[in-house]
């Protein structure tokens, strides 16, 4: 059996949630955007921008936190002998789910982690987003109860599982080869925002270090925001929920201490006040996460421990971010994008199609 995994215990996952809840507001204090100490969706979107996959010049930055998540998880999986190269469970479906998960998240403006951090920073619009997230996940559990699944993955070559950590490492090399030049919108092949959220970031090595720590802790604790809500509605289990609640409470207290708690609906950082679209965007995202089996953070940690299907979901999210900004689907503080409403509708139809048609009896 090997050694007992303390972090995967009830108090372990609560502790990990609390640590993330403390570190995220600190990252904000050190330069990350408001209520965005950590946001997996936003940061993957910034990475898409830094690579030039979209040209929204206010959201382009190679976020070291994301790189750290993958490499931290990879290191933990190696150390604790949990690296399991596996792939082949409906990769194209996972890609499409990743695309629409990102589009939904960018209509709300945040992944589940940021939804919690926004709440903990006093942004009451997050309540609508979280309600939508719960609603979307609940729809997902109805499909799960009726036999929805994406089929089995297969054990595969170690190199398959290594690809995502190698991609993360490659991106890290790019940051060192083409470092940010103050006031310049690009450095070599990478774009760097000079204004807007993409220009706001904690020091590179701090972001990377915290990303690595969170990657190790989250891989070992199986921390998952979507899983927290899904397991509660599906099984009545509160194991993962403890981590989620701990994150919100720890972030709330840390924000109070750092003077970052500003309650209200209006004037919130990187947020809009369209209640319906905050709800609907996260309904789409929540449904996509539930159908894909993990929140964006969890998918990164899985990709680090060798799950090639989770890696495809991550790449889908990066592609979704490119679509979102190239097609005017992403929201801004001014409101939703030109085609944001249509994209949410299409996304929900696609997710329902996937949920209704991909059912088999496994037992």
């Amino acid at each position: 059996m090997g050694m007992k995994n303390v972090l995967a215990s009830r108090w372990g996952v609560i502790g990990v949630g609390a640590v993330i809840g403390i570190l995220a507001p600190i990252l904000q204090k050190l330069g990350n955007p408001g209520n965005m100490g950590i946001c997996v969706a936003c940061f993957e979107r910034d990475i898409a921008g830094s690579l030039g996959l979209h040209r929204a010049d206010i959201v382009q930055y190679m976020r070291p936190e994301i790189i750290g998540f993958v490499l931290g998880s990879f290191a933990a999986a190696l150390i604790f002998r949990e690296f399991r190269p596996r792939a082949g469970s409906a990769p194209i479906v996972r890609f499409v789910l990743g695309v629409f998960a990102m589009i939904g998240a960018l209509v709300f403006l945040g992944c589940p982690w940021r939804a919690m951090l926004r709440l903990a920073g006093g942004d009451l619009n997050a309540v609508l987003g979280i309600a939508g997230l719960v609603f979307g996940i609940w729809i997902g559990t109805l499909f799960l109860k009726n036999g929805y699944n994406l089929g089995r993955s297969q054990k595969t070559y170690p190199s398959v599982g290594l690809l995502m950590p190698l991609i993360a490492f490659g991106f890290l090399l790019l940051v060192f080869i083409y470092p940010q030049i103050q006031g310049e919108p690009a450095s070599g092949v990478l774009f760097y925002s000079v204004k807007g959220p993409g220009s706001m970031h904690a020091p590179l090595l701090v972001s990377l270090g915290i990303g690595l720590v969170v990657g190790v802790l989250a891989q070992q604790s199986r921390f998952c925001t979507m899983g927290a809500i899904r397991d509660l509605t599906l099984f009545g289990q509160t194991h993962l929920l403890g981590g989620l609640v701990a994150l919100v409470l720890a972030a709330f207290v840390t924000n109070l201490v750092l003077g970052q708690f500003n309650p209200g609906f209006t004037g919130q950082p990187v947020a809009h006040t369209l209640h319906f679209w905050n709800f609907a965007g996260m309904t789409l995202a929540g449904l996509a996460f539930a159908l894909a089996g993990g929140c964006p953070g969890r998918q990164l940690f899985l990709s680090g421990e060798g799950d090639g299907d989770a890696a495809v979901f991550v790449i889908g999210m990066v592609a979704g971010a490119a679509f979102a900004h190239n097609f005017g689907l992403a929201s801004s503080p001014a409101g939703i994008g030109t085609h944001g409403a249509a994209a949410v509708a299409i996304g929900i139809v696609v997710c329902l199609f996937i949920g209704f048609t991909m059912r088999t009896k496994l037992a």
């Binding site: 059996m1 995994n5 995967a8 604790f80 949990e82 399991r84 596996r86 469970s89 799960l144 699944n149 994406l150 089995r152 993955s153 297969q154 054990k155 199986r222 998952c224 899983g227 899904r230 397991d231 599906l234 099984f235 289990q237 194991h239 089996g293 993990g294 799950d307 299907d309 496994l362 037992a363």
Partner: protein
């Protein structure tokens, strides 16, 4: 009576769904579950315990784990 569930290659939350539905169906007896990740191993064990089943064996099996749960 003993029943076997092969949950290898299935991602979250399928191994737990399969285990729970078998537990509901059998109410007591012995169930052997095969999983391929540590997360599934922990989740299945936790779910079984929460339903009052005894986790008797957790051992490496191939590249994954074999779990045996029982309720008398």
């Amino acid at each position: 009576m003993s029943t076997r569930i092969d949950a290898r290659g299935l991602s979250c939350p399928q191994p737990v769904i399969l285990t729970m539905s078998k537990i509901r169906e059998m109410t007591k007896g012995r169930i052997e579950i095969l999983v391929d990740t540590d997360t599934s191993k922990e989740n299945v064990s936790r779910a079984a315990k929460s339903k009052g089943w005894d986790v008797q064996i957790v051992e490496p099996d191939g590249s994954g784990y074999r779990i045996v749960i029982q309720k008398d």
